[in-house]
C-alpha cells in the first residue's frame, strides 16, 4: 500500500520533471547558448592555468626576466577577456530563455483560469491563484537561467579537468576523478531533504499571501471592531511560521553546500600537501621529477575542479523551489498546462447580427451545492416562450442565482437546457455569449474609467452608444456630476462607487449588447424606489422583443413581468398571476 503510494508519487515527480524539460525545449537556441558558454569558458580556463603556471615556473625556477614572459602574460590577459565575454553571453542567454518560458507559462495558466467555469475559480483562494501565477512562476527563473547551465557544467567540467590533469600528475588526476563524482551523490542525499522542505515553504507562502489579501480586504472592519491589533499579531505569527518553514529548507539546503565546501577545501589542501611532500621527497610515486609548473597547474586547477559543482549547489535550491512550485501548480490547477500545442483562438463576440428572442426549455435540471452534499435544484423544469418576461422569486440562498448561472452556462449542472433548437451544451462559446446576456449579483468593475467598464459590454461601441447605455441604466445620473463624467477612473472592485452605482454600471454593459435572452440577477438591489422604477422601465424597453428572466426580491420588478415563478424545494413552480397582483 505504502510502496504503491510512493511509486505513484515517484511517477508524478517524473512526469512533472519531464514537463519542465519540455518547457526548456521551447527555447532551444537560447538554452544551447547558455549551456555551451560555461563549457567553452572551462576549456579556456585550462589554458589560462597552464600559462600562469608556466610563467611562474619560468620566473621562479628558470629565473627568466619579465619581458621574456610577456607573450604568455598577454595571452593570459586575452583569455581572461574572452572568458568574461563568454560569461556575459551565457548568462544573458539563460535569463532570456527563462523569461520567455515564464511568460509562456503565465499566459497558459491565465488562459486556463479564465477558460474554466467561474465556479472553478470561486472554489479557490484568489490570493493563492495570484501568488501562483505571479510569484511561484518566478521560481522557475533560477531553474532555467542558472540551474540548468550549472547542471551541465557540473556534469562535464570536473571530469574533463580531472582527465586534463591526469597526464600531468596521475595521483592528483585520480584524486579529482574519484572525489568529483562522489560529490553529486552526497548532494543528492541532502538535496532530497531540501526538496520536501521547499514544498512546505511554497505552501506556507501561498497561505500567507491568501491571509494577507483577506485581512487587507477587511482591514476597515477589523479596525472598527478593535481587532486590527490582534490581526497584526496574527500576521506576525504567520510570518514567523513562514520563517520556521523557510529555515527548515535552508538548514538542509546549506548542508549540501557545506559538503561542497568540504570537498573543495579538501581538494586544495590535499593537492598542496601531496605535491609539497612529493617535492620534499617524503612521498614518491613518480618515475620522473615533478616540475614546479606541473605542481602549480595542479594547485590552480584544484579549486576549479570543484567550482562547477559549487555553482550547482548554489543553484540547487532553485531546482527544489521550481519543482515545489510546479507540484503546487499541479495541485491548484489539477493538470499542468500543455505549452507545446497551439493555443485556442480567443473567443470573439460578434458585435452585429440582431439576435431573435429565444425560447427556453429546461428539463430535469439538477445542481448540487459546491460541496456536493445537497441539491440546490432538484430536477427542475419549466418552459418560457420567446419574448416572454418572467420573474423568479424565492428566499435568499434558495437557488435563484444558481438557476440563472446554470442557464448562462456559468455553472456545471445535470439536465437539459434548450435555447430555441439548440442544446445549451452544444452551443459555441462565442455564439452563446452573443445570444445570452447575464448580469450577476456581485458584478465586478475593473480598474479604469466608467466608460471603459461599460464598453466591456461591446468593445467597438461608439462614445454615443456608451453614453446612451449609461443614460438608460441611470449611470449618468451620478456620473454627470463627477468632474470627469463617464471618464472618471474607478478603483478595482468599484471603489469610489456605491454598491447601487456599481450595479448600474454593470447593467449599462448589458444595454450595449444585443441578446435574445436576458438573465438579470437582482438588477434593482441597492436602489431606492425612484431609481428602481426608472431602471425597471429601461429594462422593459430594452427587453422588448427579447426573452427576459429576472431573479428578484422586489415585488415591483416581479409585477412588471408577464409571469412569476418561485423556487420551492428545488423545483421551479409558477405562481398564479392573480395572487401576484394581489401581493403587489
Amino acid at each position: 500500500m505504502e510502496t504503491a503510494a510512493a511509486k505513484g508519487s515517484g511517477d508524478r515527480d517524473r512526469a512533472q520533471a519531464r514537463w519542465m524539460m519540455g518547457l526548456w525545449r521551447l527555447v532551444r537556441v537560447l538554452a544551447a547558448v547558455s549551456v555551451a558558454a560555461p563549457l567553452i569558458s572551462g576549456a579556456l580556463l585550462v589554458v589560462q592555468a597552464y600559462l600562469l603556471a608556466h610563467v611562474l615556473h619560468g620566473a621562479i625556477v628558470g629565473g627568466e626576466a619579465r619581458d621574456a614572459l610577456l607573450p604568455s602574460i598577454l595571452a593570459i590577459a586575452g583569455l581572461i577577456g574572452a572568458r568574461s565575454l563568454l560569461a556575459f553571453a551565457g548568462e544573458r542567454a539563460g535569463v532570456r530563455a527563462a523569461e520567455a518560458v515564464k511568460s509562456k507559462l503565465r499566459k497558459a495558466l491565465f488562459g486556463r483560469l479564465v477558460g474554466e467555469d467561474p465556479t472553478w475559480t470561486a472554489s479557490r483562494s484568489s490570493g493563492a491563484l495570484a501568488n501562483m501565477i505571479v510569484d511561484q512562476v518566478e521560481a522557475l527563473e533560477g531553474f532555467f537561467a542558472r540551474y540548468m547551465p550549472a547542471l551541465v557544467a557540473a556534469a562535464i567540467l570536473p571530469l574533463a579537468f580531472a582527465i586534463t590533469v591526469l597526464p600531468v600528475e596521475p595521483v592528483v588526476g585520480l584524486l579529482f576523478l574519484v572525489t568529483a563524482p562522489l560529490i553529486p551523490v552526497f548532494m543528492a542525499l541532502v538535496g532530497w531533504g531540501a526538496e520536501a522542505a521547499s514544498r512546505n515553504h511554497v505552501q506556507a507562502m501561498a497561505r500567507l499571501s491568501g491571509l494577507f489579501a483577506d485581512r487587507l480586504r477587511g482591514i476597515v472592519t477589523l479596525k472598527l471592531f478593535g481587532r486590527a491589533e490582534a490581526e497584526a499579531a496574527r500576521v506576525e505569527a504567520a510570518s514567523d511560521e513562514l520563517r520556521r518553514r523557510t529555515l527548515g529548507v535552508l538548514k538542509v539546503a546549506f548542508l549540501s553546500s557545506a559538503v561542497l565546501e568540504f570537498f573543495a577545501a579538501l581538494g586544495v589542501a590535499g593537492v598542496a600537501l601531496y605535491v609539497g611532500l612529493t617535492y620534499l621527497g617524503l612521498i614518491d610515486f613518480r618515475s620522473t621529477a615533478l616540475t614546479l609548473q606541473a605542481g602549480l597547474f595542479c594547485l590552480l586547477m584544484a579549486p576549479e575542479v570543484y567550482s562547477p559543482l559549487r555553482q550547482l549547489a548554489v543553484h540547487y535550491h532553485d531546482r527544489a523551489a521550481a519543482k515545489a512550485a510546479i507540484a503546487e501548480m499541479a495541485v491548484l490547477f489539477e493538470t499542468l498546462p500543455d505549452l507545446t500545442t497551439l493555443e485556442a483562438p480567443a473567443v470573439a463576440v460578434p458585435s452585429g447580427g440582431a439576435a431573435a428572442a429565444m425560447p427556453l426549455t429546461v428539463n430535469d435540471l439538477t445542481v448540487k451545492t459546491p460541496d456536493g452534499r445537497s441539491l440546490v435544484l432538484d430536477e427542475a423544469g419549466f418552459t418560457i416562450a420567446p419574448g416572454e418576461h418572467v420573474a423568479i422569486l424565492g428566499e435568499s440562498g434558495i437557488g435563484k442565482s444558481t438557476l440563472l448561472e446554470a442557464i448562462a452556462r456559468l455553472r456545471t449542472c445535470d439536465g437539459d437546457i434548450k435555447l430555441g433548437a439548440w442544446d445549451l451544451r452544444d452551443l459555441d462559446e462565442s455564439d452563446l455569449r452573443s445570444r445570452v446576456a447575464f448580469l450577476g449579483q456581485r458584478p465586478r468593475l475593473f480598474q479604469g474609467s466608467i466608460a471603459d467598464n461599460i464598453r466591456l459590454g461591446r468593445r467597438d461601441a461608439s462614445d454615443d452608444e456608451v453614453r446612451a447605455a449609461a443614460e438608460k441604466a441611470q449611470v449618468s445620473v451620478f456620473a454627470n456630476v463627477l468632474e470627469h463624467g463617464l471618464e472618471t477612473v474607478i478603483g478595482d472592485g468599484g471603489v469610489g462607487l456605491s454598491g447601487g452605482e456599481a450595479h448600474r454600471v454593470a447593467l449599462a454593459r448589458i444595454f450595449l449588447r444585443d441578446p435574445g435572452l436576458l438573465l438579470l440577477d437582482e438588477p434593482t438591489a441597492h436602489l431606492d424606489a425612484t431609481t428602481e422604477a426608472r431602471v425597471i422601465t429601461a429594462i422593459r424597453e430594452f427587453a422588448a422583443g427579447r426573452t427576459l428572466i429576472v431573479a428578484t426580491h422586489s415585488l415591483k420588478v416581479a409585477s412588471a413581468m408577464d409571469r412569476v415563478f418561485r423556487i420551492v424545494h428545488g423545483k421551479v413552480v409558477p405562481v398564479r398571476s392573480t395572487a401576484r397582483k394581489d401581493a403587489a
Binding site: I80, A87, F225, L247, A269, V275, G276, L393, S396, R433
Partner: protein, 554 residues
C-alpha cells in the same frame, strides 16, 4: 539609499545576529584566501627546497588543514545565522506595516489598489531581505578582508597594494554602486509591472463571471499578456545588468591578477620578493575576489530592494485621514447620537451633506432613507469617524467624537457597512471578530437574531464550518446575515446598519425588520435602508435628499 536607511532601526533590533553573521562571513572569506595563499606558498617553497634540507613541514600543513576546516564550519554558520536574522526582520516588518496601515484606512481606493497593496505587504518586504544578506553583509566583509589584503600586499610588494586596492574595491564597491544606479529604473519598472500583473490576475479571478458572461475573456487575456510582457522586458533588463556585472568582476579579477603578476615578476627578478611569497600572494588575492562576485550578483536585486523600500515607506507615511487629539476626553455614559450642522463632501462639485442636523436619543431607533448615493452611508461613516466632517459636529453621548479616542468610540458604536467582508476562517472566527470572548450560546443568539441559525444548524460542522475566501460558499444574503450577526454580537450600544437586508428576500427582510427591536435589545439604532418600513419598526424615518434631512411622514 535614504529610504533603505529609514529601516535601519529594524536592523539594529536584530543587530546581534547580524553582527555574528558578519563576523562569520569575514572568517570564511579570510580562511578561503588564506588557504589558497598558504598552499601556493608551501608548494613553491617545497619545490625550491632540495631533498633532505630541513623544511618546517608541520606549520604549513597544519595551517592548510586548519584553514580548510574553519572555512567549512564558518560558511555554514554564516548562512544560517544570516538567514534566520533576515527572516525575523521580515516578520517584524510585516507586523509593523500592518499596524501602520490601521490608522490610515480606509485608503483612497482610487489611488491604492488592493492588488497593489497585497504586493506591497508581501513582495516588497520580501525584497528588502536582500539588503543585509546580499549587500550590507558582503560589503562589510569585503571592506574588512580587502583592507587586510592591502596591508599584507603593501608590506611584501611595493605598488601591489595600490593595484589590488583599485581592482578589488573597484569590483566589490565601485562596480556594484554603478550597477545599483543602472538597475534602479528597471527595478522600479519590474516592481510596478509585477503589481499590475497581480492586479490583472485578481481582476480575472474576481471578475471571472462577468468576463465570461460578457465574452470578454479575450480582453482580460490581452490585458494580462501586456502586463506579463512588460514584466518580462523589465526583468530581462535587470538580469542583463546583473550579467554584465558578473562579467566585469571576472575581468577586474583577471586584470588585478595580471597587474600583480607584472609587478611581482619584476620584484622577484630584482630579488626583492621570494618565489613562494609571490605565488602565495597571487593565489590569496585571486581567492579574495569571490566576495566581489557575490556582491555584484545581488546589485541588480538591490535596486529592486530600494524601490521596495521607497514604496513601503510611501504607503506607511501617508497621513492618517483621521487622527486622535493629543489628550482625548473620556466618552461619557449614554447612547445618544447627534449631528449638528454637518457638512461633508469628497469632491467640492459633489457635496454629499450640507448643514445636516439630527438627534437620536439613547435607545431610539431611526431609519434613513433616500436614493442610492444620497449620502446615507456617509452619515454612518462620519458617526464612526472613518472620515472627519468638513464643518459641524458629531456627538455621541453628548461628547464631540473628534475629541474622543477612536478606540473608545468604536467600542461604543458598531457599523455594518455595505462592503464588510466575510473573513477566511470559520463561522465562529467571523463572529468572534465582533466580540473576541463571546461563548457559544452568545454566538447562537447572534445568529438567531440575524436569522441565520437554521442554516448554520444544518451544516455538519455548525459554527466551526470553514468559509472559503470572501465567504463564497455562502449566498450573498447569508454572507450579509453573518456580518449582521457579528455586529449584533458586539457589545457596542449604538449600532449603525447600512442596508442590513440587501440580498434578503422580502419575507426574511420583513421578519428581520419586525425583529429589529428585539435583536438590538434597547440599543440606539441608525438604519440606512431601502426596505419598506412598517409602522412601529423604528421611532422615526428621515429622508435624505440633496444633502439635507427631512422627517418623513410615511
Amino acid at each position: 539609499m535614504k529610504a533603505l536607511l529609514s529601516f535601519a532601526p529594524f536592523f539594529v533590533r536584530r543587530g546581534g545576529a547580524f553582527l555574528m553573521a558578519l563576523g562569520l562571513a569575514v572568517v570564511t572569506l579570510a580562511a578561503g584566501a588564506g588557504l589558497l595563499g598558504v598552499s601556493g606558498w608551501f608548494l613553491t617553497g617545497a619545490a625550491l627546497t632540495s631533498a633532505g634540507v630541513a623544511f618546517n613541514l608541520f606549520g604549513p600543513s597544519a595551517l592548510v588543514r586548519g584553514l580548510s576546516f574553519v572555512r567549512i564550519v564558518s560558511r555554514y554558520g554564516e548562512k544560517l545565522v544570516g538567514h534566520d536574522a533576515t527572516l525575523r526582520l521580515l516578520a517584524d516588518l510585516r507586523g509593523w506595516q500592518f499596524r501602520r496601515l490601521i490608522p490610515r484606512v480606509p485608503l483612497d481606493g482610487r489611488t491604492w489598489r488592493r492588488g497593489d497593496l497585497v504586493s506591497r505587504l508581501t513582495a516588497d518586504i520580501d525584497a528588502l531581505d536582500t539588503v543585509f544578506l546580499s549587500a550590507l553583509g558582503p560589503i562589510a566583509t569585503a571592506l574588512a578582508v580587502g583592507a587586510a589584503m592591502i596591508v599584507v600586499l603593501a608590506w611584501c610588494l611595493p605598488g601591489a597594494g595600490l593595484v589590488y586596492g583599485l581592482g578589488f574595491f573597484g569590483a566589490a564597491l565601485g562596480l556594484p554602486a554603478v550597477l545599483i544606479v543602472a538597475a534602479r529604473t528597471p527595478g522600479e519598472t519590474a516592481m510596478a509591472a509585477s503589481a499590475d500583473l497581480r492586479m490583472a490576475v485578481l481582476d480575472g479571478i474576481e471578475g471571472h463571471t462577468d468576463l465570461r458572461a460578457l465574452g470578454a475573456t479575450g480582453w482580460a487575456r490581452e490585458g494580462f499578456t501586456a502586463a506579463s510582457a512588460r514584466l518580462q522586458r523589465a526583468r530581462t533588463r535587470q538580469a542583463t545588468i546583473g550579467a554584465l556585472g558578473n562579467a566585469l568582476v571576472q575581468a577586474l579579477a583577471g586584470v588585478t591578477l595580471v597587474g600583480l603578476l607584472w609587478i611581482g615578476l619584476e620584484a622577484h627578478h630584482a630579488g626583492s620578493l621570494d618565489g613562494p611569497v609571490l605565488v602565495g600572494l597571487l593565489l590569496a588575492s585571486l581567492g579574495s575576489f569571490e566576495i566581489a562576485l557575490s556582491i555584484v550578483r545581488s546589485a541588480g536585486r538591490l535596486g529592486a530592494a530600494q524601490a521596495a523600500a521607497r514604496r513601503v515607506k510611501a504607503l506607511s507615511a501617508t497621513a492618517p485621514a483621521v487622527q486622535d487629539v493629543a489628550n482625548p476626553l473620556p466618552l461619557p455614559c449614554g447612547n445618544s447620537v447627534s449631528f449638528e450642522n454637518v457638512c461633508f463632501g469628497y469632491d467640492p462639485r459633489r457635496p454629499v451633506l450640507e448643514d445636516l442636523s439630527l438627534h437620536v436619543a439613547s435607545g431610539e431607533r431611526i431609519a434613513l432613507i433616500g436614493s442610492s448615493g444620497s449620502g446615507k452611508s456617509t452619515i454612518l461613516s462620519l458617526l464612526l469617524r472613518l472620515a472627519d466632517t468638513k464643518a459641524g459636529t458629531v456627538r455621541v453621548a453628548g461628547e464631540n467624537i473628534a475629541d474622543v479616542a477612536q478606540d473608545e468610540l468604536h467600542r461604543r458604536v458598531a457599523l455594518l457597512s455595505q462592503d464588510t467582508p466575510v473573513f477566511l476562517g470559520t463561522i465562529r472566527d467571523n463572529l468572534l471578530i465582533g466580540k473576541p470572548d463571546a461563548d457559544t450560546p452568545e454566538c447562537w443568539r447572534a445568529l438567531t437574531a440575524a436569522r441565520l441559525d437554521a442554516f448554520v444548524r444544518g451544516l455538519p460542522e455548525g459554527l466551526d464550518t470553514w468559509l472559503g475566501e470572501a465567504g463564497r460558499t455562502l449566498s450573498a444574503g447569508q454572507a450579509r446575515r453573518l456580518c449582521l450577526a457579528r455586529v449584533l454580537l458586539s457589545s457596542a450600544s449604538v449600532i449603525a446598519l447600512d442596508e442590513p437586508t440587501s440580498g434578503l428576500d422580502p419575507e426574511t427582510e420583513r421578519d428581520f425588520m419586525s425583529d429589529l427591536s428585539v435583536a438590538t435589545g434597547g440599543r440606539t439604532v441608525l438604519l440606512a435602508t431601502h426596505a419598506g418600513l412598517a409602522p412601529g419598526m423604528v421611532d422615526r424615518v428621515y429622508r435624505l435628499e440633496a444633502g439635507r434631512l427631512a422627517l418623513s411622514e410615511s
